[in-house]
């Protein structure tokens, strides 16, 4: 579709070019883990080590969330004892870790990914099935595929 834009506007806008999805790594069962394999589309966008680091950190967060230990056991007992009313007031362990993850992703986006024209989307929004990385193209400079509206802020809000 052709859109008419003010050239000035377009000069420094970034538009979403494509998305890359990092899939779950199921080799150890249904525990939440993402593959650390580097997607080739990002070859010229970001260093491998940075992405691997991000994915590894996320994986460790998920391990922590799903850990079965003292805290989760106590949480369960308490919930049982209060006929689960406690769930209305208290945040579960998993939710706490998810909040941490969300903060981590936000921070990574700000520091590492956005400067490279990439954006991570929290996997929880995709049902924890994929880690979505949006790749933006600089319309002003290179070629770009027909894109949706230019986005200056990205969000999980949809």
């Amino acid at each position: 579709t052709s859109e008419f834009h003010n050239l000035q506007e377009l000069r420094h806008s970034a538009s979403l070019e494509t998305k890359v999805f990092i899939q779950r790594d199921y080799t150890e069962g249904t525990v939440c883990r993402f593959q650390t394999k580097f997607p080739s589309e990002l070859d010229n966008r970001i260093e491998r080590t940075l992405l691997e680091e991000t994915v590894k950190t996320l994986n460790s967060y998920y391990v922590e969330a799903e850990k079965i230990g003292g805290q989760s056991y106590l949480e369960g007992c308490l919930a049982c004892a209060t006929a689960y009313i406690i769930f209305l007031c208290m945040e579960t362990r998993y939710e706490k870790v998810l909040r941490k993850i969300s903060g981590y992703i936000q921070e990574q986006n700000e520091k590492i990914y956005a400067p490279r024209g990439l954006l991570l989307t929290d996997p929880i929004e995709r049902g924890m099935r994929v880690l979505e990385i949006s790749i933006f193209e600089d319309q002003g400079s290179g070629t770009s595929s027909p894109s949706s509206s230019s986005m200056s802020s990205t969000g999980s809000a949809r």
């Binding site: 806008s13 970034a14 494509t18 998305k19 890359v20 999805f21 899939q23 199921y26 080799t27 150890e28 069962g29 249904t30 997607p39 080739s40 589309e41 070859d43 010229n44 966008r45 799903e66 850990k67 079965i68 989760s72 949480e75 369960g76 049982c80 006929a83 689960y84 769930f87 579960t92 998810l98 969300s102 936000q106 986006n109 700000e110 956005a114 490279r116 024209g117 954006l119 929880i124 929004e125 995709r126 049902g127 924890m128 099935r129 994929v130 979505e132 933006f136 600089d138 400079s141 070629t143 595929s145 027909p146 986005m151 200056s152 802020s153 990205t154 969000g155 999980s156 809000a157 949809r158």
Partner: protein, 761 residues
């Protein structure tokens, strides 16, 4: 659960079979769904209330106050768990967004395999939810949702039981059993002390309550015991009932203690739907940082003419490979952006699996499943069958199992079928193959793509930029059931890629003269090409597997009486389970599997659908998961298209080369074991797809080099199959020899409508 779109109340537009029809998203109210849960609530609350009102007062006076307190606590526990099991989100996956499904539906395989602790597990494409279902996920037809760790849909709570609420369901069962026992016990105590005045109201009510309790005790206790066993073994009801692990190993178990603690003590899993959106405000503004290009990348860039189309920056490795031409032919016209060749793409599994196969024309959306990319022969067969007598939609994952891949494919196919069958009839064929037989799905595809790309690249370079849209041959494409024809069915000149999703294109340079040949001719030729590798209907694989595992075979196949003519030139089939191994060694253009030796009847050479439905449906479907239906299971023995004479003769075609090529490719890919798991099928499909996708394009029919010629055949075959009304191969087959060779300089390309173009090179 089979996604019965017909069963679910409503469907979103994404699951609509026809893209242009709008299905109202709201579901109609179905009161029948609420009857069991209402009855359960009524009996539970009612009986307990009566107990407390009539029985408890006396008991608390004569025995102790602990009686009503104990009963009160247990009842509260029952109610709380009942409510949680009823109202809690079981772990519903949100529908995938449009852009997550990058591949064209027409090309992506229906199954994706993944290895879990050494065991191959298949992930099926959910056409409603638009993603490959994670392991243990299943689509509930009642709720029309994919649920994580799906256990079952419980009518008594009118909710699915999945990852998030299994614990509550389990505790509900335990507490309900205890509650029933308590009520019965205390009621009995009451009655024993009131034998003399049994006609009092209190006694009568107590008796009634005891009757209800006694009546419900047996099923509830049975179910509780069943779930105790399931929890201990780390299985879900779905897996138990469908027999996934019968004879196999459960990759999801961690031992009894860990399984129990996982159910009871793990942290409450988060829900995916209805989450608060956290808006990240991050500014993304160019200019962007870029990492340094490595040497290789720079070199690659130079190689590719600096051409960077901004169309579909496809992630398909196919395109990457395209620039690597093994021919001395002139470089192709500008193509969509080429990135760095040689980079293996396994990035998105969906992508890597995607072998650009031509889209399925509308009329073939319900085609029997063929493994994609398998040979054109497979495709042709499918079409031929369809044309002839397609009873319905059969799934044949790998119609054309050339020897090489045959084993695996068959194993896969059979596994697929079996699984489908299993789900259909609740039979018990394990869907998981044992470990050790790992068929590395992605590495294989990578390998194949690497190989295939070379051949395809040669094709491309020689041909140019014409896209040939071919009907999707292999049934295992996602969009098989889609009712829309591929958006761009342009088969002729012009370099448009037919739709966003399509990556592998046959490209023919417009400069090449293109002549259209009469369809019949084409058909003939193509069929003959196709013939070379008839592939055994998956059934027999299925049967073999079941024979191996001692399972009853669920889909009966009448003895292939009519298959007598079909001449598997291969040696007479040895016992069915040996086939796995034999296939690898056949070169074949023959239908090895055709052995009738197996006790189970084999489907005819050009198998019509047989196998279980949607499971055997290799292609992802847009509309719904369930394959089309009844027809797929109906005929185990599809009406037979007459078997064409052995195609060995026509092998001199490029198809022979193609077969050879595929054989090689498949062999490479099949590092692992043979035989059978059901998981094999998808792999095969994937693998087969690749060569096919790469191979389109008009290459000289006579094979100049095997690698170059191979590609052409699949495309041809594909197109042939696409033709509507292309009928019996047998009739056309006869003429095939005449069209055989046209010398080295003619390429045949078939367009969508079945027209053939001969391009002289």
């Amino acid at each position: 659960m089979p996604g019965g779109s017909s069963k679910s109340g409503g469907r979103g537009p994404s699951s609509s079979p026809l893209p242009h029809t709008v299905v109202p998203p709201s579901r109609p109210l179905r009161p029948s769904r609420y009857v069991p849960v209402s009855a359960a609530t009524f009996f539970l609350v009612g009986s307990t209330t009566l107990f407390f009102c009539f029985t408890c007062p006396w008991l608390s006076e004569h025995f102790s106050l602990a009686v009503p307190i104990y009963n009160g606590v247990i009842f509260l526990f029952v109610l709380a768990n009942f409510c949680m099991a009823t109202f809690m989100d079981p772990g519903i996956f949100p529908r995938a967004e449009e852009d997550e499904d990058k591949e064209d539906d027409f090309r992506a395989p229906l199954y994706k395999t993944v290895e879990i602790r050494g065991i191959q597990v298949r992930m099926k494409w959910c056409s409603t939810c638009r993603f490959y279902r994670p392991p243990r996920c299943s689509h509930c037809s009642v709720c029309d949702n994919c649920v994580e760790d799906f256990d079952h849909h419980c009518p008594w709570v009118n909710n699915c039981i999945g990852r998030r609420n299994y614990r509550y369901f389990f505790l509900f069962l335990l507490s309900l059993t205890a509650h029933i026992m308590a009520i019965f016990g205390f009621g009995l105590l009451f009655i024993l002390y009131h034998r003399q005045n049994i006609d009092r109201l209190h006694a009568i009510v107590t008796l009634a309550v005891m009757c209800v309790a006694g009546l419900f005790f047996i099923p509830v206790a049975g179910l509780t015991g069943f779930h105790i066993v399931l929890v201990a073994r780390g299985r879900t009801t779905n897996e138990q009932v469908t027999g996934k692990f019968r004879g196999g190993v459960n990759p999801f178990t961690n031992g009894c203690w860990r399984n129990v603690s996982h159910v009871l003590c793990s942290s409450q899993a988060p829900r995916y739907l209805g989450r608060k959106k956290c808006v990240q405000s991050v500014c993304v503004q160019p200019p962007f940082l870029r990492p340094q290009l490595t040497e290789a990348q720079l070199a690659a860039k130079i190689l590719d003419n600096g051409i960077q189309g901004d169309l579909h920056r496809s992630k398909s490795s196919l395109e990457m490979m395209e620039s690597q031409s093994c021919d001395a032919e002139p470089p192709p016209p500008p193509k969509p952006e080429l990135r760095y060749p040689g980079i293996s793409r396994g990035n998105t599994e969906e992508c890597s699996l995607l072998n650009n196969a031509p889209p399925t024309p509308t009329m073939y959306k319900y085609r029997p499943t063929y493994s994609p990319g398998k040979n054109h022969t497979a495709l042709t067969h499918a079409y031929a069958n369809q044309a002839s007598q397609q009873p319905g939609f059969r799934s044949q994952p790998s119609l054309d199992r050339r020897d090489t891949s045959s084993d695996r494919a068959r194993g896969g196919g059979s596994g697929e079928r079996r699984e489908g069958g299993r789900e259909v009839v609740a039979g018990g064929i394990p869907g998981y193959s044992l470990g050790g037989r790992s068929y590395p799905s992605f590495s294989d595809s990578t390998v194949l793509s690497g190989v295939a790309s070379r051949s395809s690249s040669s094709t491309h370079t020689s041909t140019g930029a014409i896209h040939v849209s071919e009907a999707t041959t292999s049934a295992s494409f996602k969009s098989l059931a889609s009712q829309t024809p591929p958006p761009h069915q342009t088969s002729r000149n012009g370099s448009l890629s037919y739709d966003t999703g399509s990556r592998e294109m046959l490209r023919f340079s417009p400069s090449h003269p293109i002549t259209t040949t009469a369809p019949p001719t084409t058909t003939t030729i193509l069929f003959s090409i196709a013939r070379p590798l008839p592939h055994p209907p998956p059934h027999h694989l299925l049967q073999r597997e079941s024979a191996l595992l001692g399972e009853p075979h669920l889909s009966p196949h009448p003895p292939p009486a009519n298959q007598a003519s079909a001449p598997p030139s291969s040696s007479a089939p040895p016992p069915s389970h040996h086939h796995h191994h034999h296939h690898h060694h056949h070169h074949s253009h023959h239908h090895h599997h055709h052995s009738s030796s197996s006790s189970i009847s084999r489907p005819p050479r050009f198998p019509a659908p047989h196998a279980p439905l949607h499971h055997a449906y290799p292609y992802r479907t847009r509309s719904t998961d369930t394959p089309l239906g009844p027809s797929s299971t109906s005929t185990s023995h599809p009406p037979n298209s007459p078997h064409p004479p052995p195609l060995g003769k026509s092998l001199s075609y490029s198809s022979a080369a193609a077969a050879e090529m595929q054989y090689r490719l498949v062999r490479k890919a099949s590092a692992g074991g043979m035989g059978g798991g059901g998981i094999q099928a998808p792999k095969d499909e994937l693998i087969q797809m690749k060569p096919q996708s790469r191979i389109n394009g008009g290459q000289a029919l006579s094979s100049t080099s095997s690698s170059c010629s191979a590609p052409s055949s699949p495309s041809h075959l594909v197109s042939v199959s696409a033709r509507p009304g292309v009928a019996y191969p047998s009739s056309t087959l006869m003429q095939s020899p005449t069209h055989k060779t046209q010398g080295g300089g003619v390429k045949k390309v078939t367009g969508v409508g079945g027209t053939t173009y001969e391009i002289s090179v």
